[in-house]
């Protein structure tokens, strides 16, 4: 339940986003992310949920002409991570991301997990070994790969690859982790593994997840936001959104009348 004692990790304030072709993909989004909670973004395709997610690690900066308006404030330092003066690289070092399709580098399992640390200039072999082991354990992959860390990541199954990508995102001790439909390319068993993992990760960090699967949102998230055409229609406690939504649009979507 939303209550005053749960600290806010980040919040978007009047966030507008425009793609380089001028289309406005987000319209005045105000939404909190509670610390050590999972917040799910649901809504039909093209509603802006992935766009919103990718604002949090400034992924849109990679493509020229995209424009943000408004703020995403990160606590406890009250930094507006969208501000021009804030380096997107600094933001990505604090907020990591897991993508829709598993996208490991064509490198060894070890190097995939270690890459985030190498980028930070870490070259101490002992420390890297420890961090890689810790991250792989955190991603529930250690037992399956501990004897073949030097194998190519491509030799893993799809579900294992996605857990490897989670380990890669975990190795750098991020404050927030973003998941962009992390199970849409996986089979039901691999999906269940990832969902269980996300529930555990909640103890260490704050999670924002985009999902197409409403049952998934209901199963794993603490808070749910329903978006439609760039607007945040309704945000609230997951139990409440799925049982007693206050908005008619939300109810239509979650009951399958629409979308």
């Amino acid at each position: 339940m939303i209550n005053a004692t749960t600290p806010i990790k980040a919040e978007s304030k009047d966030l507008n986003f425009f793609y380089s072709n001028g289309t406005q993909a987000l319209k005045g989004i105000n939404m909190p992310l509670y610390e050590n909670k999972i917040t799910a973004l649901i809504g039909p395709s093209g509603c802006g949920k992935s766009t919103f997610l990718r604002c949090f690690n400034r992924m849109h900066d990679l493509y020229p002409g995209n424009r943000y308006e408004g703020q995403i404030i990160m606590h406890p330092d009250n930094t507006n991570i969208l501000e021009k003066g804030v380096d997107p690289i600094e933001v990505r070092m604090r907020i990591s991301m897991v993508f829709q399709k598993p996208n490991p580098f064509p490198k060894s399992i070890y190097e995939n997990v270690a890459y985030g640390l190498r980028v930070r200039g870490e070259s101490n072999k002992r420390l890297l070994d420890d961090k890689v082991e810790e991250a792989l354990k955190g991603a529930a992959l250690w037992n399956e790969v501990k004897d073949r860390l030097q194998d190519l990541a491509f030799n893993l199954s799809g579900g294992q690859q996605q857990r490897l990508c989670i380990a890669r995102a975990l190795a750098t001790d991020p404050e927030i982790m973003l998941f962009d439909e992390p199970t849409s390319a996986l089979d039901p068993i691999a999906t269940a593994n990832i969902e269980e993992l996300m529930s555990e990760l909640r103890n260490k960090l704050t999670i924002l997840v985009v999902t197409h699967n409403m049952q998934q949102a209901a199963r794993i998230s603490d808070y749910t936001a329903y978006m439609y055409l760039g607007d945040l229609i309704e945000y609230g406690d997951t139990d409440m959104i799925f049982t007693r939504p206050t908005r008619k649009e939300t109810e239509d979507y979650i009951t399958g009348k629409f979308g």
Binding site: N57, M59, L62, P64, I89, E90, R92, M93, S96, M97, F99, K101, N103, P104, F105, P106, Y115, G116, R118, V119, R120, L152, F154, C165, R168, A169, T172
Partner: protein, 317 residues
């Protein structure tokens, strides 16, 4: 009712016969096109094979060690390729050392750093066009720029730089294509852990595009090996009875650069020279040289294919 079903059965069978006849007709076109394609392939391959066999048959008396270790001579029987293949090797070395770093850096810049606007489009069109400029134009450019402008003389350095310019567009285009083949998801994965642009380029882009770049470089080099026109334009000599100073010496610092300013000849020019002599005995030498150039070119291209396969084997996307 029963008769209705009978009638229906009959019409299904009749219809099936019509469908089978149609499939048969359509399959005839498959066979027809496969035949035409095969003839087209054979036309190209047979022409090359005939040429190669012809050269080998004409030139086979000269396939021996002396042919590679002798200088050119007035007597056809004792004339060899020594100065030509050493010249080709050294010119190729200069070409490689100039075209690869410049071409790869240019390709990386255009693909990863340059803003995408009308100016980069203009550059793109120009680079593609440069690949199609006749090689003799490069020869004229080099004569004006390297020989007279920069006073580099009719040297190995001039020839290497000229051929380097000639294959630069090939290297740039193949670098860009290799980079474009890397999925956006891989780039985003690297940026998402906090990598800078340079870290993404050096840890990922360059590594994963190596195979494609290398292929382009080798194909460019095999083209440069056979180029004659621009080398004649800058004034390569056709009769060279000495070797350039060795790049490696026995004295400190063990490397010397005098060879760069040495005059030289290359394989296709030696071949051209022998071919233009009235004495038929020299034509045997020319045929042997032609066969050797073809073999080296095929070997280089074969290496390119093998390397690409080997490097791509570990990368699946």
């Amino acid at each position: 009712m029963n008769s209705n079903i009978q009638k229906n059965k009959a019409s299904v069978i009749e219809n099936l016969d019509a469908v089978r006849a149609m499939i048969k007709r359509h399959k005839r076109n498959d066979i027809l096109f496969a035949t035409i394609g095969l003839i087209a392939i054979m036309f190209g391959l047979l022409a090359l094979l005939t040429l190669f066999v012809d050269l080998v048959m004409d030139g086979y008396p000269r396939f021996n060690i002396q042919f590679f270790s002798d200088f050119p001579s007035r007597r056809a029987g004792s004339a060899g390729l020594l100065s030509a293949w050493v010249g080709s090797l050294l010119v190729m070395l200069v070409t490689f050392l100039t075209a690869v770093p410049i071409g790869v850096a240019a390709g990386l810049y255009l693909e990863e750093y340059a803003p995408k606007n009308w100016f980069s489009d203009l550059i793109e069109i120009n680079v593609s066009n440069l690949a199609g400029v006749p090689s003799i134009i490069y020869g004229l450019l080099a004569l004006g720029l390297f020989v007279y402008g920069l006073n580099l003389g009719q040297s190995i350095l001039t020839a290497g730089l000229t051929l380097g310019l000639l294959i630069l567009p090939i290297v740039i285009v193949s670098t860009r294509e290799a980079i474009r083949a890397i999925p956006i998801a891989i780039r985003e994965a690297a940026y998402a852990v906090g990598a800078t642009k340079w870290q993404v380029v050096k840890d990922h882009i360059v590594k994963y595009s190596q195979g494609g770049i290398l292929t382009g470089v080798i194909i460019g080099m095999s083209r440069a090996l056979g180029e004659t026109a621009p080398i004649i334009t800058i004034g390569a000599l056709t009769f060279i009875a000495f070797l350039p100073p060795s790049p490696i010496t026995t004295e400190v610092p063990f490397i010397n650069f005098e060879w760069l300013s040495s005059s030289f000849t290359v394989l296709p020019i030696q071949m051209f020279n022998w071919l233009s002599r009235p004495d038929h005995a020299f034509h045997i030498n020319a045929a042997a040289t032609g066969a050797i150039i073809i073999v080296v070119t095929l070997l280089m291209n074969g290496t390119a294919i093998w390397l690409r396969y080997k490097i791509r084997k570990n990368i699946k996307w």
